[in-house]
């Protein structure tokens, strides 16, 4: 799906949300959730070739497991920004903040092995 259809889709979703805002606010939120899901799905589907290329490059460069950690953290960030922005858009700023906190905790948990290998490297150099 090229960028033109995605932009047209977004503008149309904004128009539908604006119309629905006065008639029924709940379904305006539903429309914005659905539009956010589709646009992010299209964007991430378009990301696939570049992710494959970066994976093959990083496997060649010998930092294999770090690239998988990198992509896992990226996926977590995408999902948490989607949900946090939707929550903030619907008026729940506190909920959005909690979702972002959970996202940071998840990324920290995922990237733990990187810190341990760094610590081993440093102690190896010093010791």
């Amino acid at each position: 799906m090229d960028i033109l259809t995605i932009c047209g889709f977004g503008i149309l979703a904004v128009a539908v949300c604006a119309v629905l805002r006065h008639i029924k606010p709940e379904s305006a939120i539903g429309v914005s959730i659905a539009a956010g899901i589709f646009i992010m799905g299209a964007a991430i589907a378009a990301l696939k070739p570049s992710v494959e290329a970066i994976k093959t490059l990083s496997d060649g460069a010998g930092l294999g497991e770090f690239s998988s950690i990198l992509f896992k953290a990226l996926a977590v960030c995408y999902i948490t920004t989607l949900s946090a922005d939707l929550a903030r858009d619907a008026g729940e700023a506190a909920l959005g903040g909690k979702l972002e906190l959970a996202g940071r905790v998840a990324v920290a948990a995922i990237s733990l092995p990187v810190f341990t290998s760094l610590a081993e490297l440093v102690t190896g150099l010093i010791g």
Partner: protein
Amino acid sequence: MELDLLFKIAAVGIIVAILNLILKKTDHDEQAVMLNVAGLIIVLMMIIPALSELFDTIKNVFGLW
């Protein structure tokens, strides 16, 4: 494409709003509340498959789990 889902959700919202007014005018207010809940559930039932489709695309793009 997914455009029709967007318009389906908008249509459900508008229909529920109109029926709500009708029920309020004929003073069946409790049914209006139930109608609101039913409309919300219908919208959620439409959104959840799209959400699972998004999570599947994220999974196989980033090769996770």
